[in-house]
Amino acid sequence: MTPDDIKRVIIDALTRIAPEIDPASIEPGASFRDQLDLDSMDFLNFVLALHDRLGVDIPEVDYPRLYALDGAVAYLASKTGAN
């Protein structure tokens, strides 16, 4: 799985939670919660979706690493062994 695949998974999970967003408008370095108006339940669902699709376990202490697109891709790539 390439970082692009991971990015697609992330975007897909986000658009399921917030169907109205334009994926192209997501700024890679800014927090999803601020950009997309996610609350903690949305964020939990986001993490659950990533867990489902990628089969990775994400401990709660790592949640901050998923707050923005760049960091999330990097974190998940390391977890899935993508390169």
Partner: protein, 402 residues
């Protein structure tokens, strides 16, 4: 047509999931109704067999309209011919749901000194409506609340209702206007409920700051042990805390109806859920005080998901006995909410923030939470509200017991 909240006046039947001849059991979902809050699944509150349905898909009817008759499973009432369902078994609003449009205050009768009008003044607040007019108003969907009667003893008559019905019809433009979209309807619904609340409910507001470090530490450890699918959010802890605190202060849990407090049949926490694109709903987590945290969290997740996809159930909308709002999610320190009538209290939680805190004589950085209470002063006093917020603080210091 059940009332799914104080602000609901009518609903449109979308589809019947059960049909004449089908057996039904209390709790079954028998129909889907469209309201300003989305498509709601209507549960049944009787065991029996559907005898007949009286509203067709696509029909919009006022709250209180009989949707279907259900033949009960009990013995026939004596003198009741076979084939005639018991009127008592008519599909009805769950008992806990207050009727929102209970007689509103009537305009004072004109001061002409006839004995009949003097009699009319003996019962202030009761709108006089002739039986015929009441039936016709129900058939035509005319709201009698603010109508002035021209009949005997200033009662609303058939002619008054017909005039009002005609007035409703006339403004319809030639090409029928497209129905207002859901968010417009919801905006109107919220507007009506909140305006009524501010008009009728004498709110008082209390606030307290809670050191939530112990609860968060416990939650962190707990979530480490839990698989990802069973992790808890702070919201689950807070809802459970509110539910348990209400056991100590039951006068915050229930409704103000007809000039008196009516205690909630259970502790059903309405959890304010904002919807993407605007608006909010606050459906109930039933008997939240009896749920363990895992179950409560699972139900909360399910409730939020269904609120946002528009598939809530009638009891979830009709039953809340108090509302909890968690605006802290959006970064505000505290929230002083407007009570959702006829409920008598609303609990608000602000953002959890690290702030200086003095403990054991030392200034430390601690995660703090501002908990607020908006309460109806008719139903409770500030002292009891204070007891309630203190109980929330106390309960959050022993999270393992929640």
């Amino acid at each position: 047509m059940p009332s799914l909240g104080a602000d609901m006046e009518a609903g449109t039947l979308v589809e019947w999931l059960k049909h004449p001849g089908d057996g039904v059991t209390r709790g079954d979902i028998i129909a889907v109704v469209d309201t300003a809050k989305g498509a709601i699944e209507i549960e049944v509150f009787e065991d029996g067999t559907i005898e007949s349905v009286h509203v067709k898909p696509g029909e919009k009817v006022p709250v209180g309209t009989v949707l279907a008759l259900i033949r009960g499973t009990g013995p026939e009432r004596p003198g009741h011919p076979p084939g005639h369902p018991s009127a008592a078994a008519a599909l009805r609003t769950p008992p806990a749901a207050p009727m929102p449009n209970a007689p509103a205050v009537a305009p004072a009768a004109p001061a002409a000194p006839s004995p009949a009008q003097a009699a009319a003044r003996e019962q202030p607040g009761r709108v006089r409506v002739s039986p015929l007019a009441r039936k016709l108003a129900a058939d035509l969907g005319v709201d009698l609340t603010h109508m002035t009667g021209t009949g005997a003893q200033a009662a609303i008559t058939r002619e008054d209702v017909e005039r009002a019905a005609a007035a409703l019809k006339t403004p319809a433009p030639q090409p029928p206007a497209p129905p207002p979209d859901r968010s417009t309807a919801m905006r109107a619904t919220i507007a009506a409920a909140m305006a009524r609340s501010k008009r009728e409910i004498p709110h008082y507001y209390l606030s307290t700051t809670i050191d939530i470090s112990v609860a968060l530490a416990w939650l962190r450890k707990e979530n480490e042990k839990r698989p990802i699918t069973q992790r808890l959010l702070p919201a689950a802890l807070l809802i459970k805390t509110v539910a348990l605190a209400l056991r100590d202060v039951p006068e915050l849990n229930g409704y103000w109806i007809d000039g008196g407090f009516r205690k909630g049949a259970g502790i059903h926490i309405g959890s304010a859920i904002s919807l993407r694109g605007g608006g909010l709903v606050a459906p109930a987590l039933h008997d939240a005080d009896t749920l363990d945290l895992t179950t409560l969290m699972r139900q909360l997740q399910d409730l939020v998901a269904r609120a946002r996809t528009g598939s809530l159930r009638s009891s979830e909308l009709a039953d809340p006995t108090i509302t909890v709002t968690n605006l802290g999610e959006q970064g505000v320190e505290s929230t002083f909410g407007i009570i959702y009538p006829p409920q008598v209290a609303l609990v608000g939680f602000g953002k959890i923030m690290e702030r200086p805190w003095i403990g054991s004589g030392k200034i430390e950085a601690r995660p703090l939470l501002t908990a607020t209470l908006s309460a109806d002063h008719r139903a409770s006093d500030g002292h009891r509200g204070g007891v309630f917020l203190t109980a929330i603080d106390r309960l959050l210091q022993t999270p393992e017991r929640l």
